[in-house]
């Protein structure tokens, strides 16, 4: 394989993998922080138990999120050095700020939260997990600002002398219109993901045989509040996604034409839910189409014109000249891989909708103190945590693959971005090593997660004596409240 292919596979594998853990961290840290705040305010032991139980699951998840994040920062320089040279002046700033504002906040306060149960007053301790959550949001903001710049570069000028993009308006980079809608879209989907995880875990605990009434009541709270969060954030994800589609139609029309596999301009344009047959525009055997929906999604008007791939290709060729990456991409001519964009777009939306529907069903099935016993609702609840994880992954694959052949839209192709000095052997070694290690870690993580999910929340009596000291720590021989 050519170094470019290897570098792309590595980026895809490490990024999709990393982003399985990120949204759970963002969403679950917010939920655990809310539980702990409820505990501090009401002193109802139920909330402390939920804080500890989901806190432990959060930490199992965060650990992998953190260590796989290091790879993300390093690989820009390692595999994409020409990209780094070209964009560093613009793209490096949000990355550096992310480290300074977000990573320090997250990791320092996470350490305080994990070990600080008996060292900090309850309110300060709860504030620590909020600080972690805030850190995750900062982190999301800056890294998405960097990504949005790749989708829609603004606030810079190309300097022919240095041959690179140079920032001239930091505000424009930070408040890029793509960023302003991507950030809420991603963060809301992270809340959806975290809440779906909580619903799945708590539902299983709630309905398992032999659960005490007290435990049932506690898990029911988690199930129902979680399901509400799934529904509300799901609405928000749909709403922001809709705006994002319109902005994308404007800034990257090819991506949205590729999302439908629309080869020729139509007005109005329909949206197919499902297509059998080839997506190359020559013949489709079977399709379910909703008339006018694509026009509405792309332009906001049911009769709006949506420009097709063939017309866009001509437009792009006029604007950018013949495709500098055409030799590499067999599709060539500024066209992304259509079946991939077509299906990932549908799977993202479809799985998101199914997740929301599942949460709605669970909410209905648990109304008025009911504990559902049916298989259907149980399996739905068990599947729920996985739906947003898949939807998130498909969303990222769609938006990144839909931008191809560009790394930075309109400025630099992916083929131009790769490190010229790194051999296929080195990159292959890195790809194999990281992929194997990630696979092993996935097995370890899932098994550990299942172990701790099965254990369930500890009884309140084991947790309560942990109450933090109000005065100074006089008992020097007291064992640590938490130790690795």
């Amino acid at each position: 394989m050519d170094p470019l292919d290897i570098a792309r596979w590595q980026f895809a594998i490490t990024t999709v993998y990393h982003f399985l853990f990120v949204p759970i961290t963002i969403g679950l840290s917010g939920i655990v922080a809310s539980y702990e705040t409820a505990w501090v305010r009401t002193r109802n032991p139920r909330w402390l138990r939920l804080t500890k139980f989901f806190g432990k699951l959060l930490l199992i998840n965060v650990a992998i999120g953190i260590v796989t994040g290091i790879v993300q920062e390093f690989q820009f320089g390692m595999n994409w050095s020409d990209y780094s040279r070209f964009v560093g002046d613009v793209f490096g700033a949000p990355l550096a700020i992310e480290g300074l504002l977000a990573f320090f906040l997250e990791s320092t306060f996470l350490g305080l939260w994990i070990f600080g149960w008996d060292r900090l007053p309850a309110k300060v301790h709860a504030a620590c997990i909020w600080a972690v959550h805030l850190g995750t949001l900062f982190s999301a903001y800056f890294i998405l600002a960097a990504n949005s710049w790749m989708q829609h570069p603004v606030g810079f000028a190309f300097n022919p002398e240095t041959g690179r993009a140079e920032m001239n308006d930091f505000g424009a980079v930070m408040f890029n219109k793509v960023q302003l809608v991507t950030f809420p879209h991603v963060v809301l989907s992270a809340y959806l993901t975290g809440a779906a995880f909580v619903v799945g875990v708590a539902f299983w605990q709630m309905t398992r045989r032999g659960a005490s009434d007290e435990d049932r009541g506690m898990y029911r709270k988690a199930v129902r509040t979680g399901a509400v969060v799934v529904l509300v954030s799901g609405l928000g994800v749909a709403f922001t996604g809709d705006i994002q589609g319109k902005i994308m139609t404007e800034v990257q029309p090819m991506k949205m034409a590729a999302a439908e596999g629309l080869y020729d301009t139509e007005s109005p344009a329909g949206f197919s839910i499902f297509t059998l047959g080839s997506l190359d525009g020559s013949h489709e055997k079977f399709a379910i189409k909703i008339p006018r929906l694509l026009s509405f999604l792309g332009t906001g008007s049911p009769s709006g014109e949506v420009v097709g791939i063939n017309q866009l290709r001509e437009q792009y060729q006029q604007t950018y000249g013949s495709d500098p990456g055409a030799a590499y991409y067999s599709a060539g001519d500024y066209t992304p891989t259509i079946p991939l964009t077509y299906w990932t777009f549908r799977l993202m939306i479809g799985l998101g909708l199914v997740a929301a529907a599942a949460a709605g069903w669970i909410l209905w099935a648990t109304r008025r103190q009911r504990t559902p016993t049916g298989r259907g609702v149980l399996w739905t609840a068990m599947a729920l945590p996985f739906l947003p994880l898949l939807a998130n992954s498909f969303g990222w694959i769609f938006t990144e693959m839909g931008r191809q052949p560009w790394a930075v839209f309109g400025l630099m192709t992916t083929a131009q971005a790769v490190s010229p000095g790194v051999s296929a052997l080195e990159m292959g070694l890195s790809l194999v090593a990281l992929t194997l290690l990630y696979a092993v870690l996935a097995v370890i993580e899932v098994r550990l997660m299942l172990t701790y999910i099965r254990k369930g929340a500890e009884p309140a009596v084991d947790l309560l004596p942990l109450g933090p000291p109000d005065g100074d720590d006089d008992d020097v021989d007291r064992p640590l409240a938490f130790a690795y």
């Binding site: 965060v62 650990a63 992998i64 260590v67 796989t68 290091i70 920062e73 390093f74 320089g77 390692m78 050095s81 020409d82 780094s84 040279r85 560093g88 002046d89 613009v90 793209f91 490096g92 700033a93 550096a96 700020i97 480290g99 300074l100 504002l101 990573f103 320090f104 906040l105 990791s107 320092t108 996470l110 350490g111 305080l112 600080g116 690179r164 140079e166 920032m167 001239n168 930091f170 490190s419 000095g421 790194v422 080195e426 090593a433 290690l437 870690l441 370890i444 550990l448 172990t451 701790y452 254990k455 500890e458 720590d473 020097v476 021989d477 064992p479 640590l480 938490f482 130790a483 690795y484």
Partner: protein, 339 residues
Amino acid sequence: MELTTVWFVLIAVLWIGYFTLEGFDFGVGMLLPILGTTEKERRVLINTIGPVWDGNEVWLLVAGGATFAAFPEWYATLFSGFYLPLLLILLALIVRGLAFEYRAKRDDDKWRANWDLAIIFGSYVPAILWGVAFANILRGVPIDADMEYAGGFFNLLNPYALLGGTMTTLLFLAHGAMFVSLKTDGPIRREARMLAARIGLVAAAVTVVFLGWTQISTGSVGSAVAFALAAVALLGGLAAVGNGREGWGFLGTFVAIALGVAGLFLALFPDVMPTTLSSGLGLTTTNAAATHYTLRIMTVVAVIFTPLVLVYQGWTYWVFRKRIAVHHIPDLPTPVGNR
């Protein structure tokens, strides 16, 4: 001062933060099999750094990010050039970070032994390779006219660089032992104190040779002063710990590492990655830098947020200031069983 110089200094500061802080937690990891003969002792060691190691590691991430932003060419050449060492460091940091969090999550000797190996490997590899990498930066590597690294992996394994790797490893071992002596109580504390003094002496010898070699080949007046003070701090720290003054001992290795790194950066300036090829183009603070505009924005952000980070990170060390001894470790790792 030119903004490019300001950022050279800031990046030096970030690396100083990284090596002085993660230096001791690497040290603790490397000492795990030596100081931790029983399971409870190993847990004492791990718990001395448990709340802080991750915050320490962020200094590396910020150093990397700041280099990307302030000196994109340096970031690109360095990271793509030192490919395999960095890959090894990544693998090491991944398993090491997970080990701290996962080790106590299962009550199973085999499980813990595997994670102990991860901690030991994950601490030695970066401790050695960061030294190798920095020595190579100072020594110069083949960089061609396009600012691309043109040497292979084995080019990085020259005697000077290997000495650099030995030095960082020994210094971090001594620094870690100082930290353990400061943070623990009981037999492990006494042992750590002895070990700090012994390893410290060897570390001091290697450090003097390496810094002397550096001073002769690329040194400046500034680096000479920093190196001399680093040596004084190191010997002072060793003398202190020999007299049972653990706090002063730790301060000694801390300051020695800080001044040593500062001296290396002073010896490097104004280069950031010199080339050994006559036809090549070495990287300097000017030709590798971002634009004035970007540097100005970054300066504002750094000036506001770095002090804040120092305050809350410092507070963490205050919160967890208590010494830990074997009897502080609760019986079961965390309240868990096997399944």
